[in-house]
């Protein structure tokens, strides 16, 4: 026995806690343009290194460089910037609503806007997302009525979900946005199932699953990877690695020394690791993976490297567990600023248009909020009668009885 030293228990720790200086020296950031772009039919085994590096397009000077910069449509970039600005305006306004006591709860995606907005731009009508609570950008870059979104947050009389769901748990089949669940990870395998159905029916639609870095630890993450590996359905599996899961850092999900993209290496389908704050990289990688899926070459896992600038939710205070300045020290910068600088450099945009656009979306959201508030706030419009509907397609006798008992 004495031959061996006592074992030690290892618990990973982030590089900083409150009071410490932020330290991102461990985050390795390859040069923009340095990562190759394989053809979309490349076999997983022939592109393994893409799981360990980082696809980046925008260099320090705001230029688009390298193979992933090719063939990106300018209109989409401009529209992407607008959509990101819109998302941020929306997040800010909803925070205000929460502070005003008009909703109990909200979750922002500040700093992560490029991912959902850029990915959505690569999708087609009819495709389906299985999002988490931090992909409002998917809905906000479609024509889904923003008033409806706010009504959901207010649980008022026009809430499309009739007050039944926690704020931000949107659902819109028509806009390719699957009903958000409170239970982490469940949607990842559902996305795989939806894609299997598309293949079973000989359709051409694809699905996208979404999950956070912390939630990759959930069992259904594995279910998704196994089923994706076996049936090779047309699905893109997106991991949004924003470094934090409430108070626990990526290392508590086993993402400190391995990358999350590398999780795919044992499952015979390819993975990309992408600078999630670089809209051009996001859009290019999304297009690649979506096209790969739609052409029948199967699933792709993508790790989007980003940072959760916002608190986890309105119930959270990150200054309790991470260095105060960490978000501003994040080395991949702000996605809006980076795209804006790129477009200005290319004369596709200007500071004035930026200011105008920000004002325009602030106004839009402000007006929409006002309209939404007219239908009630803080659940005031929700009807107890709606509580008993849609548990089943037809109301069974016991629920009819209970509804009568409540007298509604």
């Amino acid at each position: 026995m004495s031959e061996y030293k006592p074992l030690k228990f290892h618990v990973p720790e982030p590089t900083g806690r409150p009071g410490d200086e932020p330290d991102f020296s461990g985050v390795i950031i390859p040069e923009a343009g340095s990562v190759r772009r394989p053809s979309i039919d490349t076999h997983a085994a022939d592109m393994k290194e893409l799981a360990s590096t980082m696809v980046r397009v925008l260099n320090k000077d705001g230029e688009a460089v390298g193979p992933w910069a090719e063939g990106l449509d300018d209109d989409i970039l401009v529209q992407g910037l607008k959509n990101m600005i819109r998302v941020r305006a929306y997040d800010e306004r909803m925070m205000t609503l929460q502070r005003q006591g008009k909703t109990s709860f909200y979750m922002k995606c500040t700093g992560e806007e490029a991912i959902a907005v850029g990915f959505r731009a690569a999708m087609q009508k009819g495709d389906m997302n299985f999002p988490t609570y931090r992909q409002q950008g998917l809905l906000l870059s479609t024509d889904y009525p923003v008033v409806d979104m706010i009504c959901q947050i207010l649980s008022n009389s026009r809430d499309p979900l009739k007050g039944r769901q926690l704020p931000i748990m949107y659902s819109s089949k028509e806009h390719g946005f699957f009903s958000i669940s409170g239970n982490l990870g469940t949607q990842f395998i559902q996305a795989v199932g939806w894609a299997m159905a598309s293949a079973i029916k000989g359709d051409t639609k694809i699905a996208a699953g979404w999950i956070g870095d912390g939630s990759t630890a959930e069992t259904d993450f594995h279910a998704a990877l196994v089923n994706a590996s076996v049936y090779k359905p047309p699905v893109v599996l997106n991991i949004v690695n924003n470094q934090w899961a409430i108070s626990s850092f990526r290392g508590i999900a086993g993402g400190d020394h391995a990358t999350f993209a590398e999780r795919a290496l044992g499952y015979d389908f390819p993975a990309l690791r992408v600078d999630g704050n670089d809209f051009l990289a996001v859009y290019a990688a999304s297009k690649w993976a979506v096209e790969r899926a739609r052409r029948g070459f199967g699933p792709t896992l993508i790790e989007w490297v980003t940072y959760r600038v916002a608190p986890h939710s309105t119930s959270d205070d990150p200054s309790q567990y991470r260095p105060k300045e960490e978000s501003s020290a994040w080395p991949l910068g702000d996605p809006i600023l980076r795209l804006k600088n790129h477009l200005i450099k290319r004369d596709l945009w200007s500071e004035e248009r930026q200011t105008q656009t920000e004002a325009q979306y602030n106004d839009e959201i402000r007006a929409a909020t006002k309209e939404a508030e007219s239908y009630g706030v803080m659940g005031s419009g929700a009807s107890p009668k709606d509580m008993f509907d849609d548990v089943y397609e037809e109301m069974p006798p016991h629920l009819r009885e209970q509804r009568q008992k409540l007298g509604v």
Binding site: S171, S172, S179, A191, V192, G193, S198, D220, N227, E393
Partner: protein, 338 residues
């Protein structure tokens, strides 16, 4: 009319629905080429192709999770969990997802899935091949739970389940697959080929979800039961000579309260009988409802005869199983009470 075992009737239901509706797909562990460990899907892959009948990885959460995704797409998956004892890894997908989807999305998305799974004991299968977890599902709003006791009901209920736009857990009492079983394990097994309920019509028909059947009329006492225990109740009735009205519930959620109340109002006594462990079993719900609804008609307390509150033991199976001896004894005691 063709004579079918329960296995054949279940298979036939899937066959009928797959023939009628391209959106019906069937999968689960070992259900593809091999046709399932109980052979319920035998021949279906050959007939409908690998893209509609296939093996799944051994991941029950994945089986249900993919089915929810398929349902959201527009398919109608009919999936198998190899034993009900192995449904727990899928519990989150069933409870938090399938059951809630219609409600939480205000019917934007639905989960029209059928989850078939063999349940119950009596096959010397030990702890993990014998369980009856039905009450773990009846507690969950948004799920329907059914359990047939014979080939005719099995086919009709399974077709109804596949056609239902809500998630249905379809329990298959495995002890009844090949023949009715009265709990006398030491007597020769009987066979569906000689039983009137083994008469199963060809083609499409349904048995409605939410309707009980009066298996055997009587006036002394009502026995509320389902699955394998229907035949145990019948045996006890015969052996004691007590004129029990045996109600085969068939559907636990929704429950056919009218049939129950009508019978108990008539007999004035009620026994609840199931294989599952007693505490918080579905029998608790039945007893609670009967006393709520028929209190002033009851001449004696509702009695529960259930599996003991232990894990399902292997070698003590016949001491655990609520057989005709125990049922008969309790029936007699009830008739003496007042």
């Amino acid at each position: 009319m063709p004579q079918m075992s329960m296995i054949e009737a279940i298979r036939d239901a899937m066959d009928v629905k797959m023939g009628q509706d391209d959106d019906v797909v069937v999968y689960g562990e070992d259900v593809g080429y091999f046709g399932g460990v109980f052979r319920c899907t035998h021949g279906l892959q050959k007939k409908y192709g690998k893209h509609r009948v296939f093996d799944s990885p051994i991941n029950e959460s994945g089986i249900v999770g993919t089915a929810i995704g398929m349902g959201a797409y527009g398919l109608r998956p009919c999936i198998e969990i190899q034993f009900a004892d192995y449904i727990y890894p899928a519990y989150d997908q069933i409870v938090s997802e399938a059951a809630r989807l219609r409600y939480r999305s205000n019917k934007d998305f639905i989960a029209p899935l059928t989850i078939r799974t063999p349940c119950g004991g009596g096959i010397f299968g030990g702890q993990t091949h014998s369980q009856s977890p039905e009450s773990l599902f009846t507690h969950v709003a948004g799920i329907k739970t059914v359990i047939p006791s014979n080939p005719y009901d099995a086919k009709g209920l399974l077709i109804a389940a596949i056609e239902d736009n809500d998630p249905v857990i379809f329990f298959e009492p495995k002890r009844l697959y090949n023949g009715p079983f009265d709990g006398h394990h030491d007597r020769p097994a009987s066979n569906w080929s000689k039983h009137p309920l083994g008469d199963v019509p060809e083609g499409h028909y349904t048995v409605p979800i939410g309707k009980a059947s009066v298996f055997s009329e009587g006036s002394d006492v009502t026995i509320l039961t389902y699955g394998t225990m229907v035949y145990v109740a019948e045996a006890a009735k015969k052996e004691t000579g007590i004129d029990a009205e045996i109600i085969d519930l068939r559907s636990l959620m929704p429950l056919d309260v009218d049939t129950i109340v009508e019978s108990v109002s008539k007999t004035g006594r009620c026994m609840v009988l199931h294989e599952a462990t007693q505490t918080s079993g579905f029998g608790a719900e039945l007893a609670a409802q009967v006393q709520e609804r028929c209190f002033y008609n009851l001449e004696s307390p509702v009695v529960r005869v259930c599996g003991w509150d232990t894990p399902y033991p292997h070698a003590q199976e016949w001491d655990y199983f609520p057989g005709p001896g125990r049922v008969g004894k309790e029936l007699k005691a009830m008739m003496e009470a007042e």
